[in-house]
Amino acid sequence: MVRPLAALVLAALAVAGTPATVPRAGSIRGQVVVPHTPVAAARPSVADLWTTRPDPVDRRRSVVYLDSAPRQAFEELRPGRAKMDQRGQQFIPRVLAITVGTTVDFPNSDSTFHNAFSLAPAGPFDLGRYRPGRTRSIRFDRPGIVPVSCDIHSHMSAYILVFNHPFFAVTDEDGRYSIPGVPSGPYTLAVWSEIGRPATRKVTVVDGDTVEVNFQVGRSGS
């Protein structure tokens, strides 16, 4: 479900535990179970050639993150570059999580033109049409969720989650995630999935320990 993650925006303000010194760290890991993985198959068209379902299907679809983060997390942001490929008329990865200030490259690895764009308040952009083999880039300077689409291929879509702290992880093919280096303290852990409402859990990270938190995401959220 696409919705502005107010928590992402508010994370910069609602700073939890504001320790005066750098605390020791633990980690959070677990699994996110989603009942259904949407497949971005092309809508039926009466005028085109037969289009087949994309193969393979990228099943990395959820992001787990700290809803609030230690103050020093905002000072340690090291934005860099990330890549969202366009291949087989899919965005790969379909879900990308980055920190504020990161520049995302959109290479066109297909044999047809693409036109990535987004109308999201957190980062509206339109890269225009560009040919195979070319790359266009955009820098994301505001936290939030940025749904990405292709203006030429309506079935192509993806999500970029922009955080203003580094404590987040995209789940793997099996839904597993791991957030290392989390300073000790109590937090609200949140999960975002494109098909369900964001869910949260209260967690307390203890120095040197790993906290296991699992989520079950349904269409209505849980």
Binding site: M1, V2, P38, V39, A40, A41, A42, R43, P44, S45, V46, A47, L49, W50, R53, F113, F117, S118, L119, P124, F125, D126, G128, R129, Y130, R131, P132, P147, S149, S154, H155, S157, E194
Partner: protein, 414 residues
């Protein structure tokens, strides 16, 4: 429905287009409040999928010039249109593809229904059998709303000429009297009912037959054998003729596609041909040659098409057969200067070959029309677009020689 059209074979209940537009708007906003689905709607584990488009257009009534009427006798600038596309994957190489369409909610048309067979899994080669997409030109295969840069349809695909497949002029003067009256031409031979003329190529109805399409690398080709003619697609046989059509296109690496196409088919119905001498009946074909170009790079999308049509018609009072030539072309462009905002425009013309009537002055057999249209578009969401624009038409004959009209449109696809 314009005044003067009631009681015809096409008369149907027609709710107010404005009311329908409001209905369309409500229908748009409600589902669009939720996220646009990335996957198409479907069931049977994805074997049956469907999507669709709703388009509502509003403009002042045009009961005098009829510049934007289609072969369904509807004004494309005052229309609520719902299109539902479906595909049933029967087996791995075979699917059934169809489109249900309603305009102004007065009847449901099965505007496309065909079997699509991909005999070689590794090749983009499809065979389509049934009511299939047109081959000639480029515009008719595009989705009506989302891929149409402005609100109106191109003259070549929409403007009604004075020719009818079920009625024939007895002389050149009969034909010249109908110049600029394509919305309701009448002729002495054949049907005496009130009916519209035909466009050069129909974009709103599709023909029935078999088509092969093949794409490899930068080349795309298609060829079809169907029942009707470019101007008169049919489901039921109206004459014994067949239409051959073909198109070849090359997709250049720089973002340009260039296509050439042609078609030839019998366009006059057997019922009216039976009323002319047997040696004239073979003069009943329509030939179309066309070329189309598309160039899309960056925030620009530019398209152009040129179609030349030749109607053969057995006019009894003419000593030799004089084909009725016509050509129409357009150039259109869209520029998107913001992720939400775009501006688009189309310039076009339809012109006709000259005939000599009893007045002895060469006169185009129908009235040439020039049209300019400009539109500003706003993407409210990924799947909702609002458009507002102005269309201006100039015509050399008919009741009204010039008419401008504002128009607005709401589009929603799912």
């Amino acid at each position: 429905m314009p005044s003067g059209m009631t009681g015809t074979r096409h008369a149907r209940f027609a709710p107010s287009p404005a009311a329908l537009a409001v209905w369309a708007l409500v229908a748009v906003v409600a589902p669009a409040a939720a996220q646009t689905r990335d996957e198409p709607y479907g069931f049977a584990r994805g074997r049956v999928t469907f999507g669709g488009e709703i388009a509502g257009s509003v403009a002042p009534r045009d009961d005098e010039a009829f510049f934007n009427y289609t072969d369904y006798e509807r004004d494309t600038l005052r229309m609520a249109r719902l299109r539902l596309f479906g595909q049933w994957r029967i087996a791995q190489p075979v699917s059934l593809v169809g489109e249900l369409r309603t305009e102004n909610a007065d009847q449901l048309d099965l505007s496309a229904l065909y079997l699509r067979w991909r005999p070689l899994a590794s090749r983009e080669f499809d065979i389509q059998i049934g009511r299939i997409p047109p081959v000639v030109g480029a515009f008719a295969r595009r989705a009506y709303g989302r891929d149409n840069l402005v609100i109106g349809l191109p003259l070549a695909y929409q403007y009604l000429t004075s020719l009818r497949p079920d009625a024939l002029p007895g002389s050149v003067d009969d034909l010249l009297r109908m110049r600029g009256r394509g919305w309701r031409p009448a002729f002495p031979i054949g049907s005496q009912s009130v009916a519209p003329g035909v466009p050069l190529v129909s974009a709103t109805r599709w023909d029935t037959g078999i088509e092969a399409r093949w794409k490899t690398g930068w080349i795309e080709t298609a060829a079809a054998l169907t029942r009707g003619a470019p101007a008169v697609p049919v489901v039921r046989e109206t004459n014994g003729g067949r239409q051959w059509s073909a198109r070849a296109a090359v997709h250049l690496p720089l973002g340009m596609t260039i296509g050439v196409s042609g078609a030839r088919g019998q366009w006059i119905e057997d019922d009216v041909l039976a009323l002319v001498p047997e040696d004239r009946r073979e003069h009943s074909t329509q030939s179309v040659l066309g070329t189309d170009v598309e160039y899309g790079v960056g925030h620009w999308l530019v398209r152009a098409e040129l179609l030349r049509s030749v109607f053969q018609i057995p006019i009894l009072a003419m000593p030799s057969e004089t084909p009725l030539t016509a050509w129409s072309g357009f150039v259109e462009a869209r520029y998107r200067w913001h992720p939400r905002w775009q501006v688009a425009g189309r310039a076009e013309k339809i012109d006709f070959g000259a005939l000599l009537g009893t007045a002895g002055v060469p006169t185009p057999w129908d009235a040439p029309v020039t049209r300019l249209e400009g539109v500003v578009g706003f993407r409210a969401t990924r799947a909702i677009e609002l458009r507002a624009g102005w269309q201006h038409n100039w015509r050399d004959a008919g009741r009204i020689h010039e008419r401008g009209s504002p128009a607005v449109q709401v589009l929603y696809w799912f």
